[in-house]
Point group: C2
Chain length 241, copies 2
């Protein structure tokens, strides 16, 4: 099935030139930390979801709009973390193939082959609550474990590595882990998120003591699993619904 | 004295459109945290040093080049912290006055009146080791205490506030304070840097115990001040020359 007729061209005059944004969308499936990767039609090219900023919209609104258009997702935790601006990050050949395979006019879209700086953002979502949908440019949008990523276009791998590093730094400072969990979770689930982000095993007793000492968790009823005397408590982050 | 004849025009084709960078350059004079502010010729307009990115250079090199050109400074600690992209951040009237007062052709430089996103960076320097010099666009470059800033152009005040917030977050994580001190310093000087950044007084005994426990300081000889029995020890950060 060809998607060509559904692709809208992007008018050069409508968007800021040489500037894009990219999104590293993290989800946690209970065991692994994953990110969303798009595959472009008939090219074998994998990339982070991203897009352009219209002249008439703020950067923030552009990113929210693009997130919705390219993945079907909205209202999720988003944080800008770095602007990538090396000269080597462009890849006009790959862009050309994507334009061709989507039936977009090469002359009219030549500006897309130019150099682009990219404002990178990361997003955090509760994996179970979302069903991402690919946009018309892409064959698929899929979750990939951060340890088993396909080869990504341009410097997208570096963008992912940087996002992960910032996520680790923000793990305690901003308690970002809460955005990857359901609103109520067990201590074991919380530990698994931390382990997936940090990429290392933690000692259960030490982890539990430290997290409880931070005073950010609220304890709720037990999670009923059949054996009531062994059931773990459920927790939530204070101030988060 | 008119600076008009010294101003070089900037060719539209040479730089990326709608994208700038700004610099929050922090220094510490032993008591207060200060930043460098430029005053444009005959306009009464105060602004952070900033500039454009040439099409032929990376973002990083553009920022280093601009830092040198606009302030005379080089080889200092620089960190990118956020890209500002709201629609309301432009101020074409103020830009027009700056162009006029510097004798730059308004038609040729009309692109400068357009909307700009700005990649903001902060820099940290040891106040005593530098003598900033204003560039040809500006009457002066001066240190202003962060508590006594003049009214700044556009959203530059917000950029400063955000830089300060990030600096506070990075105080322990990245030990950024070391870049504001001479290579050897007393515990009192270190505490004064922390207090200036955090904007609050700290308890001497608690501060000292906590910093020593971090294991990042190396103790050296005493600072001789005449009364040898009261002389404080000098410290340096491990791994920093």
């Amino acid at each position: 099935m060809s998607g060509k007729k559904f692709i809208k061209s992007i008018e050069r005059e409508d968007v800021i030139q040489n500037l894009a944004y990219d999104l590293v969308i993290f989800g946690f499936n209970g065991k692994q930390l994953k990110i969303l990767v798009l595959e472009y039609h008939n090219t074998g090219l994998f990339a982070l979801p991203g897009g352009f900023v219209k002249k008439s919209e703020s950067l923030e609104n552009a990113v929210k709009r693009g997130l919705k258009e390219r993945t079907g997702l909205e209202n999720i935790y988003l944080e800008q973390f770095r602007t990538f601006g090396s000269l080597s990050r462009s890849n006009p050949e790959a862009m050309k193939r994507i334009l061709e395979e989507n039936g977009l006019d090469l002359i009219k879209h030549e500006w897309m082959l130019d150099r682009f700086l990219s404002v990178a953002h990361y997003a955090l979502i509760n994996y179970d609550e979302v069903s991402p949908e690919p946009d018309s440019l892409s064959d698929s949008i899929n979750w990939y474990s951060i340890n088993e990523l396909p080869t990504l276009m341009m410097d997208h791998r570096e963008i992912v590595e940087t996002a992960l590093q910032v996520l680790r730094e923000n793990l305690e400072k901003k308690l970002v882990g809460m955005n990857l969990l359901p609103s109520k979770f067990t201590m074991k689930q919380l530990q698994q998120v931390y382990e997936a982000i940090l990429g290392e095993k933690l000692r259960r007793t030490t982890f539990q003591r430290r997290l409880l000492a931070m005073g950010v968790l609220e304890r709720h009823e037990k999670l009923f699993q059949g054996k009531a005397h062994k059931a773990p408590f459920l927790y939530s982050f204070k101030g988060k619904q």
